[in-house]
Amino acid sequence: MRLELRHIRHVYSPGTPFQVEALRGVSLSVGPGEVLGIIGGTGSGKSTLVQHMNLLLEPAGGKVLVDAVDATTLKKSELRRRVGLVFQFPEAALFAPTVWEDVAFAPRRLGLEEAEIGDRVRESLALVGADHLKDRSPFALSGGEQRRVAIAGVLAMGPEVLVLDEPTSGLDPASRQDLLRLIRTLRDTGTSVVLVSHDTDEIAEVADRICILEKGEVRAIGSPSEVFYANPDFAPATVSTVAALNETGWDIGHPVRFRETLRALAGLMEG
């Protein structure tokens, strides 16, 4: 599915002394099987932006388009099933007595048959690598396990776009790698993924396109190598290293991902 935001504006507490313009006309899109990485500092409007993708927040101006259809014309439940939103620290919303029941919450709300619900729960738990936890209480799990279960709870709706707000914050390195693997798996099955993070190294590894948000505006959007080499203050370690080498006279192109960069550096050493 293609999700498109056009000139989205958002104002918090309009008409009061606390009025803040959080988004000032943001436009971007993500296509099927594509990973869009959104980066930006704190207060840049990232979290406000993602809440517009399933209209949990209504824009003060602009449009959200789902496969070229205005999202406001869709039923809320339909929109929220198609655009799955995983908030920052999603484990704070776990509530059911067992992991299985918690993941079944969303499909149950969709009114599916019991057999279909069972299939969805099994599949989503398998995707996040948490099938062995299904009978445990979500409150007795480790932080990393809770995060997996919470993400499975959104995957169980079968979203066509998955929006992840800072999904790796507070996770150990192994869980981070698992999560990046999950994002690649979903992309390969045609799901669109929006990944919000301020860890540029991590975004560089999975994103097909990058958007930099600053003070509620899009500062740059495009391919990772275009965006990162033009915005050194947001560049991942690989890009900073290569840019420094290029500056001293070498020319090893514009690799972004770790393996590409290694290959480029290996070529340099052989040559």
Partner: protein
């Protein structure tokens, strides 16, 4: 940030009432609340009402905002008046229709009781509107401290109040976040009757409670690691000082009340 005002909310402006020692205000309010039950004439209530209106003027809380603070209890006042008027059988009959009879004494009693509740609530609202929550807790602790001799945990009670007040906005914010997260999973909080409404709040209440317990644990650890060990020998950052004006305020309240009881 919410701008909605409700009963018990602090209204931060500078006024002579705001500047009074919280203990003077708590004592005056307490005296007034108790004394009001001994006022048995309409003239007495009138005198107290004049005093309360004057105090609202002095407090610099806009009158309309003050009325809005009272709105949550308007229903109780209305209910009291309604039942008194309907079920009291004293005095002349003013109106009769079938089994429905309205008597003169009922109307009088209804208005009197309604007025008394309104004044009770106004006095309490005036206290909370002009006293910052922390000052209120400090004042209460100080007033309750003589009870420490009877092993009453005055400091602990005040600390609990302070913490509870501090965490209201935090928990509110947390509940908003959880509500959104569940809405993203298809929860719909607007639909159905009261029973299904209660059911739909379970996915919010459980995580909120779990989170509150976690926060309480963390706060206890943070307090311990900073050396907190209860009220014993603890000094204050803000020292309360009972000045002449506080004594005058207290005396004036007592005087008005005495006048109202005698009237």
């Amino acid at each position: 940030m919410s701008v909605a005002r409700s009963f018990g909310q602090f209204y931060p402006v500078a006024s002579p009432l705001h500047a009074l020692d919280p203990r003077a205000k708590i004592l005056s309010t307490a005296v007034l609340l108790l004394g009001l039950f001994f006022v048995d004439s309409a003239a007495g209530l009138g005198l107290v009402a004049v005093a309360v209106v004057a105090l609202v003027a002095v407090s610099r809380v806009p009158p309309l905002t003050f009325l809005r603070l009272l709105r949550p209890v308007a229903f109780i006042v209305a209910l009291t008046v309604f039942f008194q008027v309907l079920f009291s059988r004293e005095g002349e009959t003013l109106f009769a229709w079938g089994i429905l009879e309205i008597h003169e004494g009922g109307v009088r009693l209804g208005l009197f009781l309604g007025g008394r509740i309104l004044l009770l609530v106004s006095a309490a609202a005036l206290l909370t509107a002009t006293t910052a929550p922390l000052a209120l807790a400090d004042g209460l602790e100080d007033l309750l401290s003589p009870l420490k001799k009877l092993r009453f945990p005055a400091h602990e009670v005040a600390m609990m109040m302070t913490i509870a007040l501090r965490f209201i906005p935090t928990l509110y914010e947390e509940s908003q976040k959880i509500t959104k997260a569940q809405a993203a999973r298809g929860a719909d909080f607007a639909e159905g009757g009261p029973l299904s409404r209660i059911r739909t709040t379970i996915p919010i209440l459980i995580p909120l409670t779990v989170g509150a317990f976690r926060r309480a644990d963390e706060l206890a650890e943070a307090m311990e690691s900073r050396g907190y060990r209860g009220g014993e020998g603890r000094t204050r950052y803000r020292e309360l000082r009972f000045r002449q004006r506080d004594a005058i305020a207290l005396a004036a309240t007592a005087l008005v009340l005495a006048g109202a009881i005698l009237l």
